[in-house]
Amino acid sequence: MKNAVNIGLMGDFDPGKPSHIATNMALQHAADRLSLQLKVRWIPTPTLLSIDGQKTAKKMDALWAAPGSPYMSQDGVHWGIRHARENKRPFFAT
């Protein structure tokens, strides 16, 4: 089993949003406890409607729908949720 995980955060990252900063930190807390090398990639929600954005999301081990709705693209996030559901990818939404 690998010791590195790639997490895709579906959301429009805003450093002014405490919940976004908290998400990054909380993932690191958990990764450190589990001795996992963590790679987090925020995926802007409009890009999830493009081939490149979907290609990025498909490379992730798991997807998290970030807090802070409304998203710039609700349809983009819906694509990600459906991808995770149909392909048995771990999915989290908080």
Partner: protein, 141 residues
């Protein structure tokens, strides 16, 4: 909702408050005493965790306290429909509101109305987030 249940125009109140099928609606029991700009659900609240659920296997507790910072919740009119299609409401608030929802027959597919990341600490990572990362590791491509 749109794909599995076939609910056309299933919508979230923040995107279109006048949509005919609002699946996500404003919280029914907002916190009465809260700061002026705070959302309807603010601060720590108790959640009852359903025995046998993934959430229960992670928490190993029948009740937990979680931190909220949001305005909305699942419309209770849709609870039965989503449960019939393979979801479980695995956490409920004081008045029975859906607070944790998970998809059955999936390695990890879980949504919460609260924000576990708000209560995570370096010395005390949140159990749901750890479970999510463990699932990611097992699914690693």
């Amino acid at each position: 909702m749109r794909n599995v249940l076939g609910v056309k125009n299933a919508q979230h109140v923040e995107y279109d408050a006048y949509a005919p099928n609002l699946v996500i609606v404003p919280a029914s029991y907002p916190v009465i005493v809260r700061p002026q700009d705070a959302p309807r659900l603010t601060g720590a609240m108790k959640i009852r965790v359903r025995l046998g659920s993934l959430a229960y296997r992670i928490y190993r507790a029948k009740t937990v306290n979680e931190r909220f910072h949001c305005n909305n919740e699942l419309n209770p009119d849709f609870e039965r429909a989503i449960e019939e299609k393979g979801m479980t409401i695995s956490g409920r608030g004081e008045h029975g509101e859906a607070r944790i929802i998970e998809l059955n027959d999936h390695p990890f597919f879980l949504a919460t109305g609260f924000q576990p990341q708000l209560s995570s600490e370096e010395n005390r990572p949140h159990s749901l987030i750890m479970a999510f990362l463990k699932a990611a590791r097992e699914a690693s491509v």
